[in-house]
């Protein structure tokens, strides 16, 4: 009997630790990491999102300063996208619903078709989605080459571009990218898959917790 009790306790202990360990470890810092020697010590330099300047659905300029002291989720889309964008937006709405009241959270959705997706169009688009202001979720447009540049290895490290053979004329990754307060990439998630977005929402909690613990 004692032996079985021990087994039960062991099983419980294992069960609980398995649940908790996921919460405690820090999220990885992704992208190329450089090590620079300065004054005899080695500094670690992480990949960060470069400076940018776009305009959102309320004609407000959006720069990295907009997301100061916030963790945020980024994605790429275009308004007339006939393939994966609607499902990505449905999933992003889930994230919005869960974190919209948190002042340390934001979302940025970059159009990759700025010729069509003007500020006025993005305003209508976002309102039709049910996003009535730009407090949390910024739908941004701007200079096309700057948008594409930000998608490359120099920025969010995802696939973005024009492709005449693709449906709708553009190719873009369905990724949601999680960025921390230091502009570092902390995770990639498939924005077209609900279970992947579940993991993202869990990771946002973990990332916010990292700052609480500091």
């Amino acid at each position: 009997m004692k032996k079985q009790l021990a087994v039960i306790i062991l099983v419980f202990a294992f069960g609980f630790s398995a649940c908790n360990s996921q919460q405690k470890s820090k999220l990885p810092i992704l992208g190329r990491t450089d090590y620079i020697e300065a004054n005899g010590t080695i500094d670690t330099v992480y990949h960060t999102i470069p400076d940018y300047s776009f305009v959102d659905q309320d004609s407000v300029e959006v720069t990295p300063k907009t997301f100061e002291n916030k963790v945020y989720v980024a994605d790429f889309f275009f308004g007339t996208c006939p393939t994966i964008c609607p499902i990505m937006k449905q999933q992003m709405l889930r994230i919005y619903g869960r974190f919209q009241s948190n002042p340390e959270f934001g979302i940025i959705s970059h159009t990759i078709d700025p010729d069509h997706d003007t500020v006025a169009y993005l305003k209508d688009y976002s309102e039709r989605l049910g996003i009535m202001d730009n407090k949390v979720w910024h739908f941004v447009t701007g200079n096309k080459s700057e948008i594409y540049e930000l998608g490359t290895a120099a920025g969010y490290m995802v696939q973005v571009g024009e492709d005449e053979t693709a449906e709708g004329g553009y190719i873009h990754s369905g990724a949601f990218i999680l960025i921390d307060k230091e502009r570092r990439v902390r995770g990639f998630y498939d924005g077209t898959v609900a279970s992947s977005v579940d993991i993202l929402m869990n990771d946002i909690d973990r990332l916010l917790k990292e700052y609480e613990d500091e």
Partner: protein, 152 residues
Amino acid sequence: MKKQLFLFSLIVGLATSCSDSKKAADNETPSSTLSGFDQKETQYYSNGRRLYKTICQNCHMENGEGLGRLIPPLAKSDFLKNNRADLPRIVKFGLHGPISVNGVEFNQPMPANPKLTDIEVAEILTYVGNTWGNEVGSFTTEEVISSLSEKE
């Protein structure tokens, strides 16, 4: 023996408690019209279901709810009920301009699906028209052909 069974179930229970078992509720409710379907209609329905998942679902969503005021719902849609004759053309050739569905205005272009065959159009409509509260009955290939040949 009983105790071991108890232990086993405990382990299984714990193992599953960690994983996020909250799966999206399957709201896919076939309508009552389905019970009256013959074998051919049922075949259309299940083929249509498969086609819907690959062609339509990304925009109209798994449960036909659409997306905000951007993409119209197919679920419990008055538009499907009131515009039966136009539906084959919309599925195959897409739609441009504003429409009203269940009292809400939508104005997002729907892309054409020119590669769909007549029977595939009938299958998709048989599925969509008899799921999520829609009860418009089945579509035949003949109906699709005559609808597609009509001029706007």
